[in-house]
Structure formats: C-alpha cells, structure tokens
Symmetry: C2
Subunit: 279 residues, 2 copies
C-alpha cells in the first residue's frame, strides 16, 4: 500500500495502478461503513484508492471541523488490512492553495434536507469530490447510502459534468442495536450512545406503519417524529418523506421507494439516518 | 476524420485515438484563429479533437444566441483539411438534458471586464468546458488569447479542479488591417468592417505611448478611449489596463505585461480585443 500527499505524487502513483480503479473518498476515522466500501471496490476493481481528507469547505462556521475525530495511523492500518493499493492524504493547503476560487454547485438537489440545514455544505462536497475525481481518475467511485442526499448530489454532478466514471452507492452499515455507523458516533457519551438508536427505531416505525397500510406521507413523518420524541435525549431537526430522485417532500400518498430521512441532535452531536420506504 | 454526436459515440471514438490528444473547443463558424489552434494541436499531439457547440448557457437573454453564425459543412471541410481526427457536434439537449443542474463557478476572475458586462457568461463557459474536458479527456486543450479573460478563467478552473491536462493559450490571429479574427465579424456591414480595426489601432496607440515612456494606467486607458472615440461608428463599452493574473484594474504605474483590453460596439456588433503591454 502506497501513501501519497501531493497531487504530483498521487498522479505518479496512480499511473502505475491497473484499471479499473475504484476510489473511496473518506474524511478518515474509518469504521465498518467505510471498510464495506473498500471491500466492494476490492471486489469490483483491479485497484483501490482511498482518500482521507477532512474537507474544510463542507463544514459551516459553527460546525465541528476542529473537533472532527482523526486517527491516521489507525486508518492506514485498517486500509492496509482491507487490501487498499493507494491512500491519498492531501493537506488543506494542497486542496485549496492561495488563489483557489472555483466551485461546483448542484442546484435543486442541494436545497432541501441537509442543504437547508447546512448552507454551503454541498458546494464544499461537490467541489472536493470533483477535485478527487480529476486527480485520481477512477473508473468507479464508492459512497455510502448513510449520506443519502450526498449520494444523490454526487450522482447528479457526475452525470451533469460528464465525469467518465460510475458512482456506486453502498448500503448503510449499522451497529448491532441499529445505530448507523458514523465517525461522529464517537462524540456520544454512554447515555447518549444508548439513546442514539432511536433514529433507526423511528425509521422502523414508519416502515411498520407502511406495511400496515399507511400511505400518507404526513402520517409517516408523524410516526417518525413521535418515535424520536419518545426519547428524552433526542432533539429532532427534521424528518422527511421525500421523492428519492428530486428529494422534494411528498404530499399525499408516499410510494414504495420514497426516501425516509432525518437529522437529530443527541446532546451536541448531530446524527442523520435514512431508509427507502418499503425496502 | 470521424464525426460524432452523442457522448457515448464520443467516448467510443475517443478511446481508439492515441495520447496525447489535443482538444480545440469551438462554437463553429471557423476562421483562421480557430485553425491556428488546430495546427498547434496537430504539432504537439498524437491526435486532435475539435468540438463545435454554440453553448446556450454562455449567452445572456439579450445576446446573439439565435443569430450566432453557423456553417457546419464548411467547418467540417476546414477541419478535415487541417488534419483533425475527431469532431464532436453535441446538441443542446445532449449537453443540457432535462434535470441538468450542475454549474462550475470561478469567483474572482469572472467579476470584472467581460464578466461585469455579461452576467452568467463565464458560468456557462466554465461549465461547458468542464463537460468537454471530462467527455473528451484531452491531455492538452487549446484556447485563443482573443478571449483573454476566458483563457484566464479556464486556466484557473483547470488548476483549481485538478483537471489532468495542460491549457494552451495561442496568440490572436488578425486580418491584414489588424482586426482580430472573430466569428462575429460576419455581422459587420462594409462601413462597419472598415471601422472595426479601430480596436487594434487603440491597442497600438497605448503600446506606442508606453514605448514613449507613458507608465500611468489611467493615461494608457485614456489613449485607447480617445482612439476609439475618433471613429464615429465605434461605441466603447469599456477599456481596461489590468493585472494579467488577477484582471483587477491597475491604478498608478502599469508594468510591462499588463493586459490592455476593450469591448466596443460597432453598430449592434460587440467586438473585443486585447494585448499585453510592451509585448
């Protein structure tokens, strides 16, 4: 496994790796969700590259950029075990040198949900992913369904800008009690950690209501909200039942495949989760 | 020479062309300026691709999109003679299918000069060029210095987004009387055509003043403006003496290499021209 820092080192190392190459972009502090992406890439591609970069431009001014957990040594050890060929660890100065001024903006898909709560977030995501795509030149790029809106935004960007690659979105990996894997779970203290699976329970409650015949999107959102409200440590920011293509809220009847999603504060930690209705 | 329309046809045809490939993006209605780019690409690259696309997103609502001159048969004949390997002729529906919503924005460089006069113009340019780069995957891309700000914007975009290619900017090609080659010159009637070299004369007048010892940017702008005002058919929109890197107007002394530029209406036709001071 080779580790590189600069774009020049990356291009050099990349050029000797066989195609198809699979890229797994990460912000590090890797968990089983990330590793499932590496495994999938390992299965589908001749070589696998992983980027680790805590991208400052996707954090808002009051978000957790400075606190975001980091453990590069542990990450590299996990990636080596997982059969990674190349790890790119750029610095913020390499990604955003003085004079940097180009941004990739995806318009409609970035407005609701996470985009409404985190202004500028998806501009940072789309821009850094465009840079990763151009620098690494993968044939496939792997993202987790945990960040459902991000996956939709990147798919759209890749299509709209003719990136010559396939975006692969992989299922959410969960802890045994249902909590979706996230690097931010490390922020939770013991009581908060015990409360956190309420997001998953809220999704399951809406799925159960749907199985029992409930079709009204409003009612499904209400079921999720009531489940969240049953947990004293949970402060829901939004719950959503949206069109999986446009991410617009559904009014009236929700079809199978609609995207259930939510953002919930547990203490100061903001968690998200989602599921496709009826699937 | 192969001609393709869809992205799929393009990728197929591109994959059999040897690297390095040089791309010459054009809006068609080719003149000697375009052909100088193809010649340069022919000299420097193993294969040459040309795109012809009158990009609607870089035209303002009151600009000349509908009137923009087109003659594809003549273009193809000229490109064949010039030794082009591949011509891509996408339709607006191929470049901007339903649901398209991703834009590339270069911030600071796009604000003055053409950007100030043509809001949204460079967003359209940067976006379509990013698409062309991703679809064609050239190792070199050729642009004309006639569109000086465009060249600076694309250079910046390629650097900022890590496009794996070299942007090559080629000198302005002029008619014998000094008028810079432009597809829009075809809009000029006989009297207007005789008036149009005043742009070049204004640049030469500023260069002569500089050679004679004038260093004040204000004075150099005044020399250009006075030359333009000596031609009754010319209506100057702006004259500029700017930093060639940042495109900010120079106050005080102008150094060699400063960018002299202007936009001038001759009748309803808007012409631009530029030169580097002292070069």
């Amino acid at each position: 496994m080779k580790t590189v820092i600069t774009v020049q080192e990356l291009r050099q190392a990349r050029s000797s790796l066989p195609n198809p190459l699979g890229l797994v972009p990460t912000m590090g502090y890797l968990h089983a969700g990330h590793l499932s992406l590496v495994e999938r890439a390992r299965k589908e591609c001749a070589s696998v590259a992983v980027s680790i970069f805590v991208n400052p431009t996707q954090f808002g001014p009051n978000e957790d950029l400075a606190a975001y957990p980091r453990d590069v040594d542990r990450d590299l050890s996990l990636l080596e075990q997982a059969g990674t060929d190349l790890v790119w660890l750029p610095t913020p100065e390499i990604m955003y040198p003085p004079g940097f001024q180009t941004w990739v903006e995806v318009e409609h898909l970035t407005r609701p949900l996470e985009g409404a709560m985190r202004p500028g977030h998806f501009r940072g995501v789309a821009t850094v992913v465009a840079k990763l795509f151009n620098a690494v030149q993968p044939q496939k790029a792997y993202f987790g369904q945990k960040d459902a809106q991000q996956a939709a935004v990147i798919r759209r960007m890749a299509l709209d800008l003719n990136f010559p690659l396939q975006v692969v979105v992989c299922p959410i990996v969960r802890e045994p009690d249902g909590l979706a894997m996230s690097s931010r779970n490390t922020y939770l203290d013991e009581r908060q950690r015990q409360a956190a699976p309420v997001l998953h329970r809220a999704l399951l409650a809406a799925q159960a209501a749907f199985q029992a015949g409930e079709r009204q999107a409003d009612k499904l959102r209400q079921v999720m909200l009531e489940t969240l409200q049953s947990e004293p440590l949970a402060r829901p920011q939004y719950v959503s039942c949206a069109d999986p293509e446009t991410l617009q809220e559904i009014e009236g009847q929700a079809p199978p495949g609609a995207l259930l999603s939510m953002a919930v504060y547990i203490g100061k930690t903001r968690l998200i989760d989602n599921a496709f209705l009826g699937l």
